[in-house]
């Protein structure tokens, strides 16, 4: 047990674990100390200094986020000295800040703005430094916008990119008055190792890092009578959207979301979960085929382990960091892109539409999906398969713009076709979900029996944040055509967050581990913690979303992808068979090695 330390904050005496910070202790006492650079998911920086408090017998005001408690410490969080110092600090930040909030994407959802309003910063205490700063805006990336004029240099993004993602696309450049957050040789984020994961966006306290929004483009499409506007919604959106619309985290709002989308004017409201199920069929068979080539044909060229490919941030990461391991990636497109390719082919045929009049929109928890949709190879329908990708946050904006009272909306079901899904598709939204969904199907294909877990809940592969989860599943009594898998322990590993992905792939590269199947999601917690999800984010919020996802899964009448009737139908009518000719044309893709910086 940790040693205890007794300290006094604002007259309240409290005993806490040695090593806790003043900030943590104050929070326990429900004393609110303002912060800017501090973020629960990241290591402490202590650079904004807005959290300073007064410590008796100390020459300076320590930063509450960065200062550990010590025995007998007496702290005042709201003294005159503290308030004066904090006001100075916020005024200083504002003096180098382009604070035209009404023109800012983060207006009313900005930590700096909130502090400024608390501190009544109306009196222009200091000189305006903005005019002579030549702030740059990086507008060249299709997924993210970086606007230095709104940056408070808290380095949350830098820490996110390095600690959580081990990408280090962002760093600090220059000193003193010129210090700024920058990229390799100040290139656009578009040209560097950035994966577009958007984790930095989720943690940026201001409007300095935001997604590129396509809200108006989507409205235009909706208002165009010639267009048939199809929208697909990813699994993680329905457990988070409510947060941006005034609901508490962890609420499942699938039905309200569908109703809202319909009322916004989308012609058809469909479900990415459908192609998640389809992904499982394709990817499951791809895995079996690779295993067969390795075990039966003894083909030395077959790339194992096979890694999932539904997280576009992860794909770009691998292209930059381990280009030599690209053959290990499943060739399956992400569910979003499978959906897009099918909307302008299969769906258009069935609905007797000219694909040129079909606009395909997707609602994603993800910013990397914006980049993915723009990749040149994502045009297998002959058109851009997915025209616009909106984040969960952008959808919330549209709902607000339309004046819908979200929490009062009735629940409605998805349209069909391509609107039916299973629990397996739902859990794509969390780390470990693709693995679990794949195992539910693969095991049954191979043995003819359900996976040997109660309620089909394959707990051992359910990933958690901050760890790499390894699990194995023994395959016995196979069907005759899968005899080659008899007795095999299927070795699986699940990782979320690119820092952990890097760890796994490094081990694979060095031959230290022998997996068959790897699931990676670029974001902490999986898509539910995606870069397009509501802000703020932290472990507690993400956990609530995760519980909601498993709850949704458990409540679904169908839990296995291969039981999805629409999936069965599409194979019968259109695709013919998994990994068949049509699948390869529409549902599979290839990858591009990229530079390491």
């Amino acid at each position: 047990m940790a040693k205890k330390v007794t300290i006094t904050i604002d007259g309240i005496q409290v005993s806490v674990d040695e090593g806790s910070t003043i900030l943590e202790t104050a929070r326990k006492l429900d004393i609110h100390i303002p912060t800017l650079c501090y973020h629960e998911d990241l290591c402490v920086a202590g650079n904004c200094r807005v959290c300073v408090v007064e410590q008796e017998n100390s020459r300076i005001l320590p930063a509450a986020c960065a200062t550990p408690v010590s025995e007998g410490m007496v702290i005042h969080t709201n003294s005159g000295k503290v308030r004066q110092a904090r006001k100075h600090i916020v005024e200083l930040l504002l003096s180098e800040h382009n604070a035209d909030c009404t023109k800012c994407y983060k207006n009313r959802n900005c930590e700096l703005q909130k502090l400024a309003s608390q501190m009544l910063t109306g009196d222009h205490m200091f000189l305006d430094l903005v005019p002579e700063k030549r702030y740059a805006i990086d507008l060249f990336n299709s997924a993210l916008i970086k606007d230095d004029s709104r940056c408070i240099r808290c380095q949350r993004c830098v820490r996110t990119c390095e600690e959580l993602q081990s990408v280090s696309a962002l760093g600090v450049a220059y000193r003193g008055n010129k210090m700024k957050i920058s990229t390799f040789f100040e290139h656009s984020l578009f040209e560097v190792v950035c994966t577009n994961c958007g984790q930095c966006v989720n943690r940026c306290p201001t409007g300095a890092l935001i997604e590129r929004n396509y809200v108006d483009k989507v409205w235009d499409a909706i208002y165009d009578p010639a267009k048939h506007v199809v929208v697909q919604t990813a699994p993680a959106v329905r457990v988070a959207l409510g947060e941006s619309l005034g609901m508490p985290p962890g609420k499942i709002v699938t039905g309200k979301m569908v109703t809202a989308l319909r009322r916004l004017g989308f012609t058809a409201v469909l479900d990415t979960d459908f192609t998640a199920d389809l992904t499982i069929i394709e990817e499951g068979h791809e895995l079996l085929e690779r295993l067969k080539r390795a075990l039966v044909d003894k083909d030395p060229k077959v790339a194992l382990p096979m890694a999932t490919s539904c997280s576009p941030g992860w794909i770009k990461f691998l292209e930059h960091t381990f280009p030599e391991l690209l053959p290990n990636l499943s060739t399956c497109k992400s569910p979003q892109q499978m959906f897009g390719a099918l909307v302008k082919t299969y769906y258009a045929q069935k609905r007797k539409l000219d694909p040129k009049n079909v606009v395909s929109v997707s609602i994603m928890p993800c910013t990397a999906k914006k980049f993915e949709a723009d990749r040149p190879e994502m045009r297998s329908s002959g058109y851009k398969d997915v025209d616009y990708v909106l984040t969960t946050r952008e959808l919330a904006i549209m709902i607000t713009q339309a004046g819908l009272e979200f929490d009062k909306l009735p629940d409605e079901p998805f349209d069909s076709i391509m609107g039916v899904s299973t629990g397996a598709g739902v859990i794509f939204g969390t780390t470990g979900g693709v693995m679990e969904a794949a195992l539910r199907t693969v095991y049954e294909v191979v043995t003819g029996r359900e996976v040997p877990f109660e309620d089909l809940n394959i707990i051992p592969v359910r990933g958690t944040e901050g760890e790499v989860r390894e699990a194995s599943l023994k395959i016995t009594k196979t069907k005759p055509e899968f005899r080659y898998l008899e007795g095999i322990e299927l070795q699986c590993v699940v990782a979320n967050g690119l820092a952990y992905a890097k760890q796994v792939m490094q081990n694979v590269k060095e031959g230290k581990v022998h997996y068959h199947f790897i699931e990676i999601m670029a974001c902490p917690g999986g898509c539910l913690g995606g870069g397009g999800q509501p802000i703020p984010t932290n472990k507690e919020i993400r956990n609530k979303r995760k519980h909601a996802i498993y709850e949704e899964d458990l409540g679904m009448p169908l839990r296995k992808s291969h039981e999805n009737p629409e999936v069965q139908e599409i194979y019968k009518e259109f695709l013919v068979k998994p990994l068949g000719h049509k699948s390869h044309e529409l549902l599979h893709t290839h990858y591009t090695p990229r530079k390491r910086y």
């Binding site: 920086a45 202590g46 100075h88 200091f126 000189l127 220059y174 000193r175």
Partner: protein, 388 residues
């Protein structure tokens, strides 16, 4: 020039002992406790600026748990107007290495580093030659404590101890949060003693003379002598080793040009003392401390320009990570310009003084915390020069 000259001291630059590395050899025979006791007794305080008691620092590092420990000699010397460490390293490097080795023995460190200011690269050949002798000698003494020289990156902030560690570890030179302090979490996260060049030499002198003899110099709060870099409006600029605790008026009498209106004690991050306070000001930890720089200004100097230069320096040399320092320095400099130009009322100076006070108590490291020293002392004492 008056007859009653300030006492010149010849400790730091004094001749080496007769036998090579004799002081080190003798010290190696003593117990760590004895050495620590001598250091405490001597009252030696760090010469890098902050004046932390050296014996205490070593003791903390010696007691810190862990096997891997380091000794680092801070030779980054970036304070404008200071060049005494360069002088020490070029004239008596042996004393510096000996001091580091004694520290290595006392705290149980495996390795020492000299973090040498990039601009002092020219000292490398000489220092390397001396280091060879050093390694030779400790080999003979059966003592294992290699010392390596690392060249600094050229940023002033890398002289701040925790930024120096970051820089040595290959990261951007940004100061860390404190606590933890270097004695428990220093270079590579291990217990580390970091001392100024001159501090290590003082240790050697204490070992050689004994604490009693050492204490004869200076005052009760400021023991020993100090190497000063004297510059500015003086007929005799240069490096002088003088007793600590001297009254400023006597210093000015000896080094001034007869028209001294102010002395900047301790460089850009130090204090400006105006003529009317020369008499009451003592140079030392009980009065106005200095890392070594003494800059004299005569009445032809514009204190506005002096301050503007300092603020310019800080504005550019701040690492830029923390708000009070990064933006505060810009506001202070631009603020005095605005007042001078009449774009802001003279009252705005009071606003700026308050800001400087906030910077002093909220900045993350010593750089931002000490901007107020020169700012407030110059603005307060030379207000008319700021306005007209």
């Amino acid at each position: 020039m008056s007859e009653s000259k300030l006492k010149r001291v010849d400790l730091i630059f004094g001749e080496y002992s007769s036998a090579k590395y004799k002081v080190l050899a003798d010290a190696l025979k003593r117990s760590n406790e004895e050495i620590l006791e001598d250091l405490m007794e001597s009252g030696l305080r760090g010469r890098g600026g902050a004046g932390f008691p050296t014996g205490m620092k070593w003791k903390l590092a010696a007691e810190a748990p862990g096997k891997e420990k380091y000794v680092i000699c801070n030779a980054d010397e970036g304070e404008p107007g200071t060049f005494k460490d360069r002088e020490i390293l070029s004239r008596v490097p042996r004393k510096v290495f000996s001091g580091m080795a004694i520290c290595g023995k006392v705290i149980g460190a495996q390795k020492g580093y000299v973090y040498l200011r990039g601009e002092y690269k020219f000292l490398l050949p000489e220092l390397t030659r001396e280091l060879e002798q050093y390694h030779d000698q400790i080999g003979k003494l059966g003592f294992d404590f290699p010392i390596e020289i690392k060249l600094g990156s050229g940023a002033y902030i890398c002289g701040e101890e925790s930024a120096l560690f970051e820089s040595m570890e290959g990261f951007r030179g940004e100061p860390r949060n404190k606590p933890p302090y270097p004695t428990t979490f220093g270079f590579m996260g291990k217990p580390t003693v970091i001392n100024n060049v001159e501090t290590f030499v003082n240790v050697v002198m204490i070992m050689r003379l004994g604490p009693i003899q050492f204490k004869l110099l200076g005052t009760s709060d400021s023991r020993g002598s100090k190497v000063f870099s004297v510059s500015g409006d003086t007929p005799i600029p240069g490096i002088y080793e003088l007793e600590l605790g001297m009254p400023l008026d006597r210093f000015v009498e000896e080094f001034g040009d007869g028209d001294t209106k102010a002395v900047q004690v301790g460089g850009a991050s130090g204090f400006c003392v105006p003529r009317k306070k020369f008499r009451e000001t003592v140079i030392g930890f009980e009065g106005v401390p200095t890392g070594g720089s003494m800059m004299l200004f005569n009445s032809s100097r514009s204190m506005y320009n002096v301050l503007h230069n300092y603020l310019n320096f800080f504005e550019e040399e701040s690492c830029g990570q923390c708000t009070p320092c990064r933006v505060g320095c810009q506001q202070l400099r631009k603020g005095i310009v605005a007042v001078k130009k009449g774009e802001k009322k003279a009252l705005y100076l009071d606003q700026l003084m308050k800001l400087a006070e906030s910077m002093k108590i909220t900045a993350k490291c010593g750089l931002g915390q000490s901007v107020a020293n020169s700012f407030s002392s110059i603005v307060y004492n030379f207000k008319e020069e700021m306005i007209y």
